[in-house]
């Protein structure tokens, strides 16, 4: 039974962070400046590799396999490998505190491009599972899509079709943050769809129409559309608006929200905030509609070369009409980038349910080692 618990814990953490929006404002860039995908994550662009090298305290060749293999211009390969070690706890539980050690992320990326059109695919393992059947069920291709870009780089129009994560809000890397875990784009919520957008240093906008995955069990059960637009004001501030509609056989969800970013020159801190409201109605249950609120504030401090400290405050109210359904979190994450392909990361979380009445608490502390191919 202990094995079953650990397996479930592993899966809750699996497939974690893959990108850092903390960098976008400071460089007046979008996610697509450093990542081939407008959603962020996955393969790095030339700019992304330069940033990885520049950020690391000891530098290092940022190219694929440290430059040991020279790829043709039309081909890009990469991957992310991540392991974790730590502990988790829940109060008022017989389980108390239990240790964790597991592979967190195994993703490989391929991109082939010619004349502005690229084929992109991600293949990996979907967390740590207790599959007893076909071993192939471990395998997952979270993203595979064809994309056209007007210009080589991070500006201009783009369009893509295939399987990817519809863009909503800040695209926070940590999937345990509430806007991801309880919001519209949780882990493995990639859908099939078509998307079009505009990218530039000062403004970006993305519109996606999507359907749930018809081939495998979906995380997102609905079909719908998503929108995100963000206006940046130099390297100091940005504000964004987002919306999403999804309808499944069981429910309809309408999400609206705002995002903001602010660079504080004095202390050298980047603040990011995201607030989402979700209106959910349930098929066949006329009086069961609920409104949910999700808020996240994240302060990021570049301590010194190669070191990044994040402090996050999160709030999630499952149903604002009923008391006692709120979750509140404090996250403290410390990143260390010693070389351009390596990251050492400590993530910690304390969560309290029903804050005003002092409900159950839970939390975790994880040490992660992340290697980018």
């Amino acid at each position: 039974m202990r094995a079953a618990i650990i397996a479930l814990v592993l899966s809750a953490f699996a497939g974690s962070a893959h990108a850092y929006p903390q960098f976008t404002l400071s460089q007046a860039q979008t996610c697509a400046a450093c990542h081939e995908s407008p959603s962020g994550g996955g393969l790095l662009t030339d700019m992304g590799r330069f940033t990885a090298e520049d950020l690391a305290s000891r530098g290092g060749d940022p190219e694929f396999l440290n430059g040991a293999v020279e790829l043709p211009d039309w081909l890009a390969l990469g991957g992310d490998l991540r392991g974790a070690l730590g502990a988790s706890f829940v109060t008022d539980s017989d389980e108390g505190v239990w240790p964790l050690a597991f592979p967190m992320q195994v993703d490989f990326y391929l991109r082939a491009e010619t004349r502005g059109v690229s084929a992109n695919a991600t293949v990996g393992l979907r967390g740590s599972r207790t599959y007893s059947g076909d071993p192939l069920s471990f395998l997952v291709s979270r993203e595979h899509f064809l994309m056209w870009k007007q210009e080589d780089g991070a500006s201009g129009f783009y369009a893509r079709a295939g399987r990817f994560m519809p863009i909503v809000g800040l695209r926070l890397a940590e999937h345990t943050f509430y806007p991801r875990r309880y919001g519209p784009n949780p882990l493995y919520a990639e859908t099939y769809g078509v998307s079009a957008g505009w990218l530039s240093g000062g403004f970006e906008a993305h519109l996606t129409g999507f359907i749930h995955d018809p081939f495998r069990e979906p995380q997102e059960h609905g079909d719908g559309a998503a929108l995100y637009a963000e206006k940046r004001f130099g390297t100091k501030a940005a504000i964004g608006v987002t919306g999403r509609f999804a309808q499944s056989d069981d429910d309809t969800r309408i999400v609206g929200g705002l995002t903001g970013k602010l660079w504080l020159d004095g202390p050298g801190i980047l603040l990011q905030a995201e607030g989402l409201a979700t209106q959910q109605s349930f098929d066949g249950l006329d009086d069961a509609d609920r409104t949910q609120l999700i808020g996240q504030l994240l302060a990021s401090y570049f301590v010194t070369q190669g070191w990044l400290l994040d402090v996050g405050l999160g709030h999630y109210d499952e149903d604002i009409a009923i008391a006692g359904l709120d979750r509140n979190s404090v996250d403290v994450n410390l990143h260390y980038f010693p070389w351009s392909h390596w990251e050492f990361l400590v993530t910690t979380r304390l969560q309290v349910i029903d804050f005003t009445s002092g409900g159950r608490s839970s939390g975790y502390g994880l040490f992660q080692i992340h290697y980018r191919l």
Binding site: V90, G275, L297, I322, D354
Partner: protein, 120 residues
């Protein structure tokens, strides 16, 4: 936008947590599955119809019904004896393992089970 504005927004969100003490949500499997079990338990990583961790799935109403019946997770009329409730309350096992459910959600599950007639 200032830091004060950002903080004020977060405080406003927190203040909105003060809802009604009366929980009038439907105590039905259909509601509980879509509103609670699917997002907290029936994720693709855990108890989905594809993953089937511990041969359990809670991502669809039918899958939840089948899992509950086949594994005997509910003792009709007796939430205090129902494994589904016991794991949510952390008795022996804790589920979900690192993100426990609010008491109000567990109480809703208990009301649903209590509403079932006990077998003769």
């Amino acid at each position: 936008m200032t830091a004060r504005t950002l903080l004020a927004g977060l405080v406003a969100l927190a203040a909105a947590a003060c809802g009604d003490e009366v929980d009038d949500r439907p105590a039905t499997l259909e509601y509980i599955t879509v509103a609670i079990l699917r997002p907290s338990c029936g994720t693709v990583s855990c108890h989905s119809t594809g993953t089937m961790t511990e041969d359990l799935a809670f991502d669809t109403i039918e899958a939840a019904r089948e899992s509950i019946e086949s594994k005997g997770l509910v003792a009709p009329g007796r939430p205090d004896l129902s494994p589904l409730v016991l794991v949510m309350r952390g008795v022996d096992l804790q589920m979900p393992p690192e993100a426990p459910l609010p008491d109000k959600d567990i109480e809703l599950v208990e009301r649903w089970i209590a509403s079932m007639p006990e077998p003769e």
